[in-house]
Subunit: 217 residues, 2 copies
Amino acid sequence: MVRQASAQRRTLLQAAIAVFARKGLKGATIRDIGREAGANSALIYYYFEDKEALFTEAIRFVMQEFFERLAAGRRAFRGAEDRLAYLVDSLFGYFAEFPERVQLMAHALLAESAQLAVAASSFLRTGSATPLLVLQEGISRRELRAMHPLHAWLSIVGLCVFSLMTRDIGARLRPEADPTFPALGLADRRREILALLVNGLASRGGKKVRGRRSAKK
Amino acid sequence: MVRQASAQRRTLLQAAIAVFARKGLKGATIRDIGREAGANSALIYYYFEDKEALFTEAIRFVMQEFFERLAAGRRAFRGAEDRLAYLVDSLFGYFAEFPERVQLMAHALLAESAQLAVAASSFLRTGSATPLLVLQEGISRRELRAMHPLHAWLSIVGLCVFSLMTRDIGARLRPEADPTFPALGLADRRREILALLVNGLASRGGKKVRGRRSAKK
DNA sequence: CGGGTTATTAATCATATGATCAAATCATTT
DNA sequence: AAATGATTTGATCATATGATTAATAACCCG
């Protein structure tokens, strides 16, 4: 029957986000999600069509929530670095608050790209995809190199998501294989990614370093 | 009994790589893999411990093969851009030849990081992780900014893998949502990623543009 | 050829899973 | 309180799955 808005429905959706994030669409089971929600798993079929539809709604929810936050925090930008910092910080801030949701998006991206594309295109159509607008603005103002904003955005997301997802890989490698590997916190990673986005990996040494180099600290 | 090297064993491993790449560890079934290999699925248990061990061997195989190619193609570098181009081109070239293997690594990176860490650390220990050596060399020579080479490598992998994995998402979005979205080929993506790695996203306009800007074309 | 080892298969097991449904509970209105 | 409709649950079904096993086929060496 697929009921709309209700507290129970929201609870189930949040449980689904958590479990899908941990195990992926295939790895998560209906019973897992029911248990996480503290409800009978059969209830899921009262509120949602099936497991796939629940997954689709989960990624749509996360995407919408993220775009809303981004739009809410939008401001005037002082230049390229400020503009890029806004995007990177939004990603890092969102995922610092809801770490499991990055993982959900990563699963969607990798294994269920069809569903992700469906969800994403609805945001593109309604013009509510803030990151693309912000990047487009930066390109128009010649702050950023000329390129399609979607490519720029995917590069930023790729860097951040990869950095966030590989934190535990680094942690696992560190002790045995490479004692020199530094245990960087989120703030350090944010700084490195921002430096990469603004200036690239190449050293600007020899010739004079640009003033825009360091954000803070 | 877990037999070592044999033609059949290799066939099964290749089939596993293909199926795991398509469906992930959880999504792939033993029967899928058997069918792909044209063999009885029970045979898998003759050559491999279980499904997880097969997955681990699959990512180890791909990682080793990729590192070997990288080591074979290693050369003297003329500077930061040349050095970064070598790494990006190695990734893109490997993907062009074996797209499914890159997808397998993406699955391992984002969804099965525990197994990836096990496989990766053995390469780190033996010092055969060429990309880290190449990056370390570039940093020592002040071509590249000072940072831990593993972070630099993960950034490069993140950019490339994300770009490669989102190609079909872009293709799905393009027609309906955004008619301006350009259908970039691999060569264009390579160029954009390299430009980002060398110079960042920020425009060098106003102040004079660096000579190292454009790779070719 | 023949005996013994290795490789491969069909059949099967136990369990997990997505989904359904009828019954039970709860809420709301009369 | 009775009646009606919405919500929740335990039981159940059919199927898919990872894994095992016993039997068969292929291979090899004398």
